[in-house]
Symmetry: C2
Subunit: 259 residues, 2 copies
């Protein structure tokens, strides 16, 4: 039990661990294993959130569960992302991490697509007991809509804020947020966001939850209400996940102030 | 959304849906399918809780997770009962029930083996949205012990009480609670429990969570603090699950008063 240490929230993007261009439910098993091994070297309090990639977005689109209540489509989509989660949890355990899957369908109530309440006592106790909870983008119950799609990008800042995390890492498929010439923007703050916004697009392939702009907006909101700094970096580049976990600030930083 | 109807909690015992005498992780797939079909005929607000059977008890015993904190053993046991849950959820969906697995590991915090808190907002919303949540005996986080084993028999009365359920059905592998001559005892109340207690043993095979005596004690406690009546019946007998769900009072009733 390591009560004295700060918590890190690590997001692994759906584009990194699944092939969004290929068939539904195509996992990049080599990448999953490599990232699991990079995480295994890290010995601190950690929560992982992964995207749904090709295990969630095409299904959500096919059944139009963002647009209407479809119990069957919701179940099929949820079961599919659970399968991806079980692959990641298995790879982490194999690498020596005491990972436990935590499905938002089981511990979240949303209201009109936003998290209204999330049970966190089990997650805190996991962290205190040296487990690594592994959450993911999911279909969740929604008191307005029946069900709604909950993006990992909404879970990350919510968890970080409620768990009083210190750092957030967003492992994406790009080298951070890029400017018009493809160069990584070093830092985004409330002050320069307006100017930078024009560079930030949606996701390259099917993504029902907002892509890069969605990520940046959530993290910017968080930085304004807390002192949590976030880093968007390329998790597809070997060494970046372990580098971020060991304290390196890589990719694009999102913070309240320029410093 | 059927807000006007009462909630039923149905437990399916681990001995009914798994072969406790055989190898670890042996599911009775025919029985699971039959019971799923009996449930599919029922059109009301329902929560299902199933036991872990051979997917949980032998593993919990092997790693002695009732006696000490063993992260690896806890994860292995949890993953095993999750597999059983996914078989049952799949059979229910195939039979036409909009079933969703709810893993107690994801929504419970226990304290010294007793449920301290359980997130229920997602479960209530599932019921209101015509889904059937399917919980199970599980390893859960425990603020005293790190992890502890949570029996389905503890989940059932907790859920029934908190969700203000009207009826509980305990589908076991026996015709109810039997007297010394193998006859089903019709009713157990606080008044006759002392006299009946001597007939009630533990479970025939490996059961780390208390067997029949555990069940009866939990339900008797519940009947004393509420008006919820419980029925312990043989779920291995075709027609009993659908019979109970359609309102028949079969097996042994457990209630506050003789009536």
């Amino acid at each position: 039990m390591k009560d004295d240490q700060s918590i890190t929230v690590l997001k692994i993007g759906g584009s990194v661990i699944t092939d969004k261009g290929k068939d539904e439910g195509t996992a990049r098993t080599g990448e999953i294993r490599r990232i699991a091994e990079e995480i295994a070297g890290y010995d601190s309090r950690l929560v992982i959130v992964h995207g749904a990639g090709s295990f969630g977005h095409p299904q959500a689109k096919r059944y139009d569960i963002n647009g209407k209540f479809d119990p069957r489509g919701s179940i099929i989509t949820h079961l599919s992302v659970k399968r991806l989660n079980s692959l990641i949890v298995a790879a982490l355990n194999e690498a020596g991490v005491n990972a436990i899957g935590v499905h938002p369908m089981n511990c979240v109530l949303s209201e009109d697509t936003r998290i209204r309440n999330m049970f966190l006592e089990q997650i805190s106790t996991m962290i205190d007991s040296s487990f690594v909870p592994v959450l993911h983008g999911d279909v969740v119950m929604d008191r307005e809509l029946g069900t709604s799609v909950l993006s990992g990008d909404q879970i990350v800042p919510y968890l970080a804020y409620r768990l009083k995390a210190e750092r957030i890492g967003i492992g994406s498929a790009e080298d951070g947020v890029l400017d018009g010439k493809g160069r990584t923007i070093e830092r985004i703050t409330p002050a320069n966001f307006k100017e930078i916004k024009r560079f930030i697009g949606g996701s390259a392939s099917t993504d029902v939850t907002g892509g890069m702009l969605g990520k940046v907006l959530e993290l910017l909101n968080l930085s304004e209400s807390s002192n949590i700094n976030s880093y968007i970096f390329n998790a597809g580049h070997p060494g970046n996940v372990s580098g971020f976990l060991s304290g390196r600030n890589i990719g694009t930083a999102i913070s309240k102030e320029e410093y």
